[in-house]
């Protein structure tokens, strides 16, 4: 289909991108947390992909290439919105010490409590330095494998693994005390 578009059948581009409409939007939404902005970023990303289709190399997966374009668009927009965004990290930093609490062990089954905790997780994710957040979103939300994540971000597989581990530990460290309090609040008033 890519060859058809490059041969001048531009209508084929619409069919080419249909399977990826959702994942490109999800990537933008996970980074920006705003539906209108995510939609705009997704549109920009697909337009950019169309204009640059001639540069796409078949060694890469088309979805990885598209997600990388969407991520760059989302990143640029985030930087405009939040100029103080932390985007430098040192991959040789020492280990993250997790929160050593034993109070919160179960996944809540109630929808409301689950939603409450998910919104805490989203807030904690937004606080992570950008390079950790990007790896986390690609691996845990976009479900990209380690190799695809490395290709999307232009970093090594070892860096992906290290950043993912640090991101998870940072989230655990920040969230475990909050999750323990959500959980104990429920335990104290189980009949309400």
């Amino acid at each position: 289909m890519i060859a058809e578009v490059l041969a001048g059948q531009t209508e084929a581009f619409h069919e080419l991108i249909r399977p990826y409409e959702r994942s490109v939007y999800l990537m933008a939404l996970s980074m920006l947390r705003n539906e209108a902005e995510a939609e705009d970023v997704a549109q920009e990303a697909f337009i950019k992909a169309y204009r640059n289709l001639g540069r796409f190399r078949s060694e890469a997966r088309f979805s990885t290439w598209l997600i990388a374009i969407a991520l760059n668009e989302a990143r640029a927009r985030l930087r405009r919105k939040l100029p103080g965004l932390t985007d430098s990290i040192d991959d040789t930093d020492g280990p993250v010490v997790p929160a050593q609490l034993t109070d919160w062990r179960e996944i809540p089954s109630e929808t409301l409590e689950r939603q409450e905790i998910r919104s805490l997780i989203r807030r904690a994710l937004d606080q992570l330095p950008l390079p950790y957040r990007e790896v986390f979103v690609l691996r845990e939300i976009e479900e990209r494998n380690v190799k695809e994540t490395a290709e999307t971000l232009g970093i090594t597989i070892a860096s992906v693994k290290m950043r993912l581990h640090r991101a998870r530990m940072m989230l655990q460290k920040q969230l475990a005390p909050q999750l323990a309090s959500v959980s104990s609040k429920r335990r104290r008033f189980p009949w309400f």
């Binding site: 939404l29 540069r55 190399r57 050593q100």
Partner: protein, 87 residues
């Protein structure tokens, strides 16, 4: 090999992703059997990932696809069709 807690924390992601070698996995499991703190850290990390995965299920905004293709058509009219480029 007997692992201490700090060692185990470094293996938590590998344990969750099932990428540890057999021996290390067994060492981690032996530690988890008697260490309540580390098994709570493992459980809370796993739970965060499970709840994060809930965010994969969502409805696209109504009309998203139509608006996207309309904007693409507009952009296509304005730009020349893409051409293959040599590496």
């Amino acid at each position: 090999m007997v692992l201490n807690c700090r060692h185990v924390w470094e293996y938590i992601s590998g344990y969750l992703d099932n990428t540890l070698d057999e021996q290390t996995r067994a060492d981690v499991e032996r530690h988890l059997e008697h260490c309540e703190i580390c098994s709570a850290i493992l459980d809370s990390t796993r739970n965060i990932l499970i709840l994060t995965a809930d965010d994969r299920v969502f409805e696209l905004p109504v009309g998203y696809s139509e608006r996207l293709h309309a904007r693409l058509r507009e952009a296509m009219l304005k730009s020349p069709p893409p051409e293959p480029q040599s590496p």
